[in-house]
């Protein structure tokens, strides 16, 4: 019986320190893996320099007039003909138009009372169609 009692005392009463490194590395790797840096997403655009005004021939402009209810009125250059469509249809339209005229510029004119999201929808459609020459304006009567 005395022998059994001696054997029990061999258990160390200190906290095992050799695994601290493993714990620290585990924490380190966990945070390295789970950290996601919020990378902003958005539609980028280049603003004109102050006072910069380019003269563009009317036939190279596609007017996209965004109305307060979210519909888009499309006017081509000088023609007074108006075509009404939804923002999502602008993408197909732009692809068609730019195939006919590679110098085309999209003039997005938004009504002052129209929601920002309608402008974003149209800009999104243009960006989806790889449009590069975009001008943002406010619609004046």
């Amino acid at each position: 019986m005395a022998v059994l009692g001696k054997k029990k005392k061999r258990v160390s009463d200190g906290v095992p320190m050799s695994s601290t490194a493993d714990i620290a590395f585990l924490l380190l790797i966990f945070f390295l893996v789970t950290t996601t840096f919020p990378k902003d997403k958005g539609l980028s655009i280049v603003l004109p320099e102050p006072g910069e005004e380019a003269q563009v021939s009317q036939k190279n402009i596609l007017h996209l007039l965004i109305q307060p209810n979210g519909t888009v009125e499309v006017k081509r250059g000088e023609s007074q003909q108006v075509q009404t469509m939804r923002p999502s249809e602008v993408e197909g339209l732009w692809r068609q138009e730019v195939a006919n005229n590679p110098n085309l510029i999209a003039a997005v004119k938004t009504h002052p009372d129209a929601s920002y999201k309608y402008m974003v929808d149209v800009l999104d459609a243009l960006k989806s169609a790889n449009a590069e020459r975009i001008s943002l304006q406010v619609l004046e009567d």
Partner: protein, 149 residues
């Protein structure tokens, strides 16, 4: 002589193993290094409803060169947690833009329902401040949602 090892004794008493006792120090050092060097964004998020766009792309610029301008539904503008009037924007942004050597990218974070006239005023103010690169911050829209629109 018949000695083992040709009469040579091990000269070095250094252990052949990599010292494992310093691993904890290294790990904690790395941990503290990353804790100290991690920079969180400077301004707090405003409560806005984000517009959605399918063609949204990641802003290809360092975090420190991105400046957020928030616009809430009523057209109030926030810059670095401070509300500003439209007239102040040009005066506030222009020196910051010059200080960044024209590398600054403005991220416009507008509520999706803000009337466009305020957006236009903001753009005019930014043009006057000489800003060139602007991003309309959006969340990514899934194609399925878009089809319903």
């Amino acid at each position: 002589m018949g000695m083992k090892g040709g009469g040579f004794q091990k000269s070095s008493k250094a252990s052949e193993e990599i010292p494992a006792s310093s691993l904890a120090d290294i790990a904690f050092l790395l941990l503290i290094f990353f804790m100290v060097t991690t920079v969180f964004q400077a301004d707090r998020d405003r409560p806005i409803e984000w517009p959605q766009a399918e063609a949204a792309q990641k802003i290809d610029e360092k975090q420190k060169n991105i400046m957020n301008i928030w616009m809430e539904r009523e057209g109030t503008v926030y810059l670095n947690d401070q509300p500003h009037t439209m007239e102040e924007i040009t005066a506030v942004v222009a020196p910051l833009y010059a200080a960044s050597e024209r590398a600054l990218v403005i991220s416009i974070r507008g509520d999706q329902d803000v009337p466009y006239q305020y957006m236009d005023q903001l753009q005019t103010a930014l043009v006057n401040a000489g800003v060139v690169r602007v991003v309309f911050a959006t969340t990514l829209e899934q194609s399925m949602q878009r089809a319903r629109r």
